[in-house]
Symmetry: D2
């Protein structure tokens, strides 16, 4: 056995050993099972499409983003380092292709879908380009040139944190890019920030809704999904093409801090997949009507009675992975023998449009006391 | 409208109002969904058959025990106040029939099965009698007379905390009662205490295993099931008769502090209903073989490789409602081209017999590195 | 030794034994050290003056309220069962004097001050009477007669949940009682409810501010003080007379859900006793000025820069028992060489008057970048 | 204004902006106040002297280790990347001097003492060298040469994870280095592993005790100190020279997972600074004697009665930052009129020597029941 062979063997053993050491120091190898229902015909993928590493101004190695995603129960991520901002360049390579190369084996092992990406960062305006084929192609270009180059690569393009360092306004340069088919989505949620002023753009401009962490520091383990911002993608298949098709078709929901933003159809689908009323009939007891629900999902629903029946009021949380009782109260003068055949609810943390909450009509018969 | 009618009306309104007030001050109305798999042919019921109230030496009203059970995800309870110990008797009725009468409407509303019960408390020896028809029949009797009376009522009888105020020994009075068919089970777990010396009695004496809280104080909301001791009952039907039949047939498992005690058959059934290996093949990478599992249940499983393959070692937790990776390590001299067709595990927190852990053989093929 | 002597001995032993059993089942015997600073000349006592037991419509035994208070770090409580509402009267004594008699030995052992009290409950209007000498004297009386009787006993009287079952308005019957010196305080906070409309009454009507749980159910162990509503009483001495004098002198602060309501003087005293700025000088770095604080107390402070320096903005939490950094941001056009000699903050969770936050001027010199 | 000036200005603004972005995405800026008492004449510093970054096989940027230390309440750290193991060398500089240069400004701003360090990594044997002046001097050397070079730099040298990849034995190469004054300490604790076999070496070989995380991955935010392994250093001054002097004088304690290892004198000092018995006299009530303690520190103490008084038994946790009651139980035959003038305790989680617990004699007088 030659010297170099021995060296290779030792090196290999050593690598394994150091991996062991790292494993020993690492937190528990545990992936949260986050229960978000699939919709008919679609698989619901939990995604974060905006993450940084030491290759631009982030603080972690690319594989760490994969490990965090696995731990937190995500299905897909994109690591999107800045094209034109490299504060670590004295010590770390600026070759952004390396980010994907380094993260990919870890992603494959963990079963995390890794979308190739980059953050096109020009002045105050940043776009994420997903599904890029050459992450290094945008360095030094101006915004429009970079977007054009990304479009040529077939990228899905969305505007990041649209009110960063200024008001959230639809600017001329954005309008021009949009006309040229280079604005396919927008981050309604970036980190802990919800960009309310961007919500009215979604419909008219036909944008996909995104919610991403934009994490630079390590992501804390104690945050469950929904506290960690997440883009729900409703895909025909759980692969990169499925994600691309769903993004292009705008089948996404933003979820952050127990609020969800998306189309009424998608939000209603989530409710129906998650919550089951446990009774079809309820009666007034004292001045209270109790409606029990079973929520098998990880999403909380804030329910409020609106409108019907008119003689009841009430609201409450339909807690995740729990049974919850919504207690409705009769007014000071309880009704005589009236009945109600349906209950109308608003889900005040599910937002199909600016200033609107999801409305539902439940076929629950309520009997007033004789 | 007569004076008494007004009074009744006011009283009714007032009652409702005070209920409202109580509701406002109460903790969230939320029932945990505790995921314990059913076994083929059996519904798994989560039960606590030993609870106290102010009617003996407990600190809470009977309905509170129902509310706690609902909140914690239990399916059935028995409230078992002492027959002969009434420290609150200057202020509270000693009529034990009242306990069941008071708790029953709350139990029916909450969907909790309420087993009529009493704690026959004679000196240091206490028995719980379940399914009694007259809870007041045992006051003032000696132990044997009380058990005889309970047997006449058709009660299921189990010995509580068998090492309380003395060593855990099978005493003559117990032996005599057992011979007369008046000892059907024993608490292996009472509160935080596991009675190890009682475990060897289970098989030879054909006893059902019980695990109960014996709560006197309010039960803390932050404890999940399994931290709160619980008896798992594998019933043909989710009703009182189903519970009685299962107890009599000894189809129970004790669960406390992430340990479970029961027959190998029942424990294996829980494992199979809860855990799914996510791979049928694994390979050595570095010096590590990674086996991923998906555990959809609320039970953690502590897995340890034993025996096969001989060139690997390792252990780890298969966390509840998570995916977990069991990392196995090759010894310092990794094997050449050997393969293994199965993996043998002990689940070190599942105990089918004294000093034994559940053993499993998984059909996972492990390829060593070429 | 006679038969009765033996019986007494056995009884005594048995009592001890059952106590042991209860102890074993009980949660950990641990009292939280809640850090609330004393003010110059005053001891800060943490109090809950509105608690129920099975003697009216509550769910727990009187000693349980003492144990909860000890566990949660309170210094004083009043157990205030309803005079005229006894839904458990078929099973539990209606003699309210018993509540105090039963709780007192436990309170003395635990070092909890127990204020004798009762809830005078007449229709929709409820008052708590503290320091009563005969808790049974109010049963069957109308409101005015009951308050008059309480005043004769020297009671401190406050109006409970002033908007319960109706709007929060200063009613004629309250006005009349107030004129007669029978309304000394009001619950701004009852349970999770803050009665905003009552806050403007505090000054003009010279009322003491109260915050109480009004607990009927067991109080959950996982709630820290401040989440559990609490009345802070600034007393000359840590005894019943100290509490009475402080209540009469209106030296109280309400604390619920991380908000505090009280006079500017008392709130400022809490800030000064709790928080220490860790720097007297700060400088602009990038566009950020970082102000570090050390908060040794259990109270969080939500700080927001207001007004000065004009070229900075920012807010943040000064976390309990932590060091926190308040990050202030310079506007898009950073100043040249300006300096600021002070920083003006609002503490947005400390409320000295309706619609107002506590304002503070800190002597921190801020240097802009050259 | 010239083009380069504009560029510099833009660059500066941009830097600030990206910092803002990072700040927005970062977890709360909060430093835990970890209460560990100082000892007479010594300041107690909480330290972690074994941390990795992307400059060897770690996953984070050097400043992240500083931020984690600040967040977790540490006073000092050493970042100790491997000299001879650089799996990221295709993308990251191998100049270890850069690690300190990058971390230092962040450490100075945060008030964290940064000890220059490196991990001398030769085969299975790794040493940490603290206070090195040239971290790059050891690359390619064998173990003895590297230790010799470190000694010349004036380094403090300790053996890391002494049973890693083999049994924990005092090997010839270690013995030789020790004779030459190049082994000053040993990690009794590395990550979650306690090296029991190394504990007997501490006294005879005059080694300092170390406990370090050896973190490669990001450190989880939810772990409090003591769960995160930490070396307590009892220093004459809170600066680098103070740390060096204390390490050399072996005034250290290891703290991991609520166990502490160190000399009896230091452990006793921690107890005395942390815990105050709240009574000098106790009496038998029922069969229980209750001893209350106030523990103002963040360290839990597991107390067990040993030996005296002989007629009592018991154990319990003296919880951190709490008041706790130690409940001692009299045997089945309570004593007549005996008294005890002292209580002898073992603190079963404080270990002054292998197989030994700290023993304490408390001057508490216990009166038996008449």
């Amino acid at each position: 056995m030659g010297r170099s062979m021995i060296k290779r063997l030792l090196n290999r053993l050593f690598t394994a050993a150091v991996v062991l050491l790292a494993a020993a120091a690492a937190p528990a190898q545990k992936r949260a099972l986050v229960a978000v229902p699939d919709l008919p015909g679609y698989k619901t993928l939990k995604c974060d499409f905006h993450l940084h590493t030491v290759f631009s101004d982030g603080e972690v190695w690319p594989t760490t983003r994969v490990m965090e995603a696995w731990r937190d129960g995500l299905d897909a991520i994109a690591i999107t380092d800045h094209d034109d901002y490299h504060p670590h360049k004295d010590d770390v390579s600026v070759n952004l292709a390396r980010v994907h190369q380094i993260a990919l084996p870890a992603a494959e092992r963990a079963g995390i879908l890794l979308v190739p990406g980059v953050e096109i960062s020009k002045g105050d305006i940043h776009f994420n380009a997903l599904f890029v084929t050459d992450a290094n192609a945008f360095t030094g270009l101006d915004l429009t040139s970079a977007l054009t180059a990304a479009k040529k690569q077939g990228a899905f393009l969305f505007w990041n944190h649209p009110g960063w360092r200024g008001p959230t306004v639809w600017q001329p340069v954005i309008e021009a890019a949009h006309k040229d088919g280079m604005v396919h989505g927008v981050e309604l949620v970036n980190g802990r920030t919800f960009y309310a002023e961007a919500f009215p753009w979604i419909g008219p401009k036909k944008l996909a809704i995104l919610a991403n962490t934009d994490a630079h520091a390590p992501l804390p383990a104690e945050q469950r999904l929904g506290q960690r911002p997440v883009t729900l993608v409703f895909a025909r298949s759980a692969d990169l093409e499925g994600i691309r098709e769903a993004l292009t078709a705008r089948r996404t929901v933003a979820w952050m801090d127990d609020h969800l933003w998306g189309s009424a159809e998608l939000l209603k689908g989530l409710w129906e997949g998650a919550v089951k009323p446990l009774t079809a009939e309820a009666r007034l007891e004292g001045r209270i009507v109790r409606l029990p629900f079973r929520n098998g999902s990880s999403i909380p629903f804030e329910a409020q009675l609106v409108g019907k029946p008119t003689w009841l009021t009430g609201k409450g949380t339909i807690h995740p992975q729990s049974e919850s009782v919504l207690a409705l109260r009769a007014g000071p003068v309880p009704p005589g023998g009236e009945e109600a055949a349906t209950v109308e609810l608003e889900i005040t943390n599910l937002h199909p449009a600016p200033g609107e909450n999801l409305r539902l009509t439940l076929p629950v018969r309520i009997a007033a006391r004789k």
